[in-house]
Symmetry: C2
Subunit: 154 residues, 2 copies
Amino acid sequence: MERVPGSFGTSVSFALRIFQLGFSSASLISMCVDYDFNEVTTFCYLVVVMAYVILWSILQTLADTYSVFMKQLPHKPRVLSIVLAGDVILSFLSLSGACGAASAIEMLLSIDAPMCGDNLCIKYYVSALLAFLCWALFLDSAIFNFMSLSSLFY
Amino acid sequence: MERVPGSFGTSVSFALRIFQLGFSSASLISMCVDYDFNEVTTFCYLVVVMAYVILWSILQTLADTYSVFMKQLPHKPRVLSIVLAGDVILSFLSLSGACGAASAIEMLLSIDAPMCGDNLCIKYYVSALLAFLCWALFLDSAIFNFMSLSSLFY
């Protein structure tokens, strides 16, 4: 059976995971610089979500690396379902974190908060933008894995 | 061919659309009471999204009503794809609107904003909660329609 490009264990999936890992790490670093983020609840939420995203991406990158370079892993419905569930849940968490952070930055700017003086809020903007990109990549992974899973059943 | 319960043109889909229409209307009304919402950009965004959700739900309710009570509409891939695309887009918009509004309310409460005095922000909370419920219902509709669409191809 041919594998859907981008599904678990393929080289496209490996590339997607590398980008997810890069964007989520950059988002976390951009948010955590200066330690001011813990004054706003939504920023803390985004940091927690990005930490989970990094953990998940590392796990998936290792599995894809093994599958691409060493020995191809079998496509089992149970494994694919777990990967799909993880991707869907993390895509929703990333989107909610990004939207929440963007909304909080908008509010901070509108009330001229001291933590946003001298264009300091630009790093929070960058963090929210990278979280949006993470969401888009997770959505791609989820769609590919769903196509792969449904091709197993029909 | 048997129809997937909950997909376009079935009675479960009709029930889902009625609930979507109810929750989105209640969210819009809860947000628009008193006209204070236009001071916050995210609240305006949620109002626009809920207006689109209401329009889409009315259209789908009419189509489902016709299909259930008058004459069953055919399951064509093109029609199902359009319905699925609409559901997915509106589910993401609802989630982003709900998260943005929830984050903005959190910020307003933390700075003791005058528009939140005397527990006035509770109506915005209710509005965001109803938008979350809309998201969950749209997700259900999207999943059912996707299953119905993929059953046409395999």
